[in-house]
Amino acid sequence: MDTIMEYIMFMIDRSDQIFTLTWQHIYLTALAVAIAIAIGVPAGILITRVNKLSSVVIGIANAIQAVPSLALLGFLIPFLGIGTVPSIVMVFLYSLLPIIKNTYTGLSNVDSAMIEAGRGMGMTDGQLMRMVQLPLALPVIMAGVRISAVTGVGLTTLAALIGAGGLGQFIYRGISMVNNQMIVAGAIPAMILALLVDFALGLVEKAVTPKGLKQTNGKEVEA
């Protein structure tokens, strides 16, 4: 029977490999989420400007989200082959919806009085977006990025199936070799990674919340 000691010994033994795979995992996830931000945020901005597009774009993102992840991966292989590219594309596609949706929600929930004040003072559409709408929507957009990144860490474990590496490699190899130590050596870092990403992006979310929107507890307000 395995003891906890043996698990730890196994992990220390393979620490070099775990380290490499963790980096690979982070790299794959980060790249996919970064592309999703680069495309999702502008798409979200676009559909708040051209409201007719919003149901179409969100509909497509929703449909992609509904496809089972393994099926999506299988679907991508005939077009993109195996390796890094299809796995990044898969995580990217899954990350799109929360980012587009939160960008759209965040921007459309900006108080219309703010927009009118900005416009009434002579802001151009671009200035209004940059100086008013985006700063006010940023906390909501960041919440979307956070969801994407955390699910992305989980999804990237599938990348090992098509030879892209990452911590999934230990998990699948462990399953096929019926080696519990190896499964856990992949699963635990993946779990910790997801929690760390969630925590770190939570801090970022707080940091980007404009100071004036935070609760001012205990500050006195006089007439």
Binding site: A113, A117, G120, L213, A223
Partner: protein, 372 residues
Amino acid sequence: MIKFENVAKRYGDTTVVKGLNIEINDAEIAVLIGPSGCGKTTTLKMINRLIEPSSGAIYINDQNILKADPIELRRNIGYVIQQIGLFPHMTVGQNIGLIPTLKDWPEDKKNARIKELLELVGMPPEEYMNRYPNELSGGQQQRIGVARALAADPDIILMDEPFSALDPLTRAQLQDELFNLQQELHKTIVFVTHDMDEALKLGDRICIMKDGEILQFDTPENLLRHPSHGFVEEFIGKKRMWQQPEYIKAEDIMITNPIKATPNRTLTQALEIMSSSSVDSLIIVDDKNKLLGIVTAKQVRSNANKARRLEEIYERDILSVKLDDSMADILKLMAQNDIGYVPVTDEQGRLRGLITRSSLVNVLGDKYVGEE
């Protein structure tokens, strides 16, 4: 000067503003008022083109603004909106300095202006400049809103129900501050409100609107005294004038048929007139009704020779007031000179009426008590 020429706004089949023609003079506060849906806010927002007119033209200093660049236009018009027009993610200083920022002012000029404006609205810059709007009370926030509108020193300021969300005390205070500020700054202010008290307090002229049309655009005094329209009178409130003592004139409180006599009457006749009308004095007028003086029953009785004529004894040195003297002035005059009556004349000195202590009691009693 802001001039509307046949300005209309239609949304599909509904017309919210029907062919407006208004001229708003420089350095006046023009108040737009009316029931909700009357088109007052639409009218205001057409001045900075947040709403584009469907037809007609709007001129500012003879320039058709519909042909101007809307962005540039708005940067040169101050705009204060209802409630929270301040950007919550910007400090007080950043909010006030917004239009200067948009206009690319150099940093030091901008900062100097922000400090100057904070001083102007009575908020010490060192204390408030770096605070956020949600750390301020509603009244302070709206002061910043006014300061922000003044930042680039525009000639025109549009205010859309700026004080409606404030509590009555703060509202009254900000109204006073705005009024005092205007005495210094002489801006052209277009002010939308639904509060008649506010309109009367601030407006040099008040424009009463209903269903997209102007019913009357006039000074507060003329609106109160000569409402052009049943609706105007009803909207202002019939008794409103009696709550504004400065607008109550001699003609509103005088009796219009005082007992009078010409100087050639004999004393016997005079006594007869007094007793048949139950009065104790007569106003003396000439045959053209021009006020000459007054005579009391006591003066008449103290003369033994009742065949003498009034012209020999009546009091020529008397005080009188004009038709449009205000009630406050009249009361002061009567109290200071300790007189119980004062004749009212028109510009030509002709007798038009008489105010006595008992007529005052009757008239005011009717207005304040009788109509309840």
